[in-house]
Symmetry: C2
Subunit: 216 residues, 2 copies
């Protein structure tokens, strides 16, 4: 058994990373040192996974042509999303939704193939593989913030097209295009709040007592 | 823009929480102070969410009868999972898979109803609501570790039955029964490794370069 206690300073640092992590879309080029990238991926790999299935796979994109094709796929989905949004289309098209061309590193996070073999904790809840993968990405996001690096999660893509581009086997499925790298600063609040796209709801509205909809 | 740099000590604290967080099933009763519980839920609420949809809802279970009914639902699913596992059924039944009766607090984390209204980042990737909710739970897990509290994510339940028990509206869906509270210590490695259920795969096997299956 490992020791339980964190010092007050250590605890504050964890809360700081949680509070100051942002979904970044503005990057300042540069590079990520190999040892830093390795630490971030190890942080992801330390995530919990249902039945210890470790469903995560990470594909580092270093080929500029591939990065460019991915950016085109995202741009196509951005236009389709705008169409689907109807009256908010123009407002949506003005938002910066990804930093694929500007960030130091692009990493695709994907669910492995063969997931149907894993039953533990998934018989009635097959989506637990997505949950585990997302915990891994959140670990990486917090670690990146602690390293002073920005990260953004892009989900504006067609998963089948992206899977084909990266030669994924049947059953594997991309969940994120992660943009990672140096930034000139971190947004003081979520960018969608700053841009007036959406307002945050206070926590107390989302907390119930014993039954749905019942507030204390 | 907020300042980028974390001190080396702050960075180490974030990595410590990531490395020492465990999916706990052994709890030592006790209580969680209200201000600590509030901090943990705020940590969850600081998670990123796709299009700022904040799909998470948290139901705190303080009614002992309700906790007991939930424990029964989990026990039923545990038996069904064992049946589905076939030859590993006996080994599975020996594992401790939840601490619902022993933990200080039980919190159900659920996806809200009305999620179909949110298109941003979800037109082709509707599962991004699960991803956002999972990032929130991972935040809470790391914060709990920093507070010296254990947390466990139980997914052995029938989501429809649990939704009915907690009076959830159509479209809402429970994703986790979270067990939270004091522990006598944290497992030095994932419990499923210590118990011989599964082995961890090293990260390098799960990392690819530009194309699926291609290692550097």
């Amino acid at each position: 058994m490992s020791e339980a206690a964190f010092s007050p300073d250590e605890r504050a640092a964890v809360y700081r990373a949680i509070a100051e992590r942002r979904d970044m879309r503005h990057f300042s080029g540069g590079t990520v040192a190999p040892e830093v990238l390795a630490r971030l991926l190890e942080a992801a790999h330390h995530a919990p996974s249902v039945g210890l299935m470790q469903p995560w796979r990470f594909i580092r994109i270093t080929d500029p042509a591939l990065r460019s094709s991915m950016q085109e796929q995202v741009e196509q989905e951005r236009v389709r999303t705008a169409e689907a949004l109807g009256e908010r289309a123009d407002q949506f098209m003005k938002l910066k939704v990804e930093g694929i061309s500007d960030c130091a590193e692009v990493i695709v996070a994907a669910l492995m193939d063969g997931r149907e073999q894993f039953v533990f904790g998934r018989r009635t809840m097959p989506e637990m593989d997505i949950a585990s993968m997302s915990c891994a990405i959140q670990n990486m996001w917090l670690a990146a913030r602690a390293e002073g690096l920005g990260m953004g999660w892009v989900s504006l893509f067609d998963p089948d097209k992206l899977a084909a581009l990266l030669n994924m086997p049947e059953g594997a499925r991309p969940l994120a295009i992660l943009c990672l790298g140096p930034v000139t600063g971190f947004y003081p609040a979520p960018m969608l709040v700053l841009e007036g796209w959406a307002q945050e709801r206070p926590l107390e509205q989302l907390l119930y007592d014993n039954q749905w909809g019942v507030h204390r």
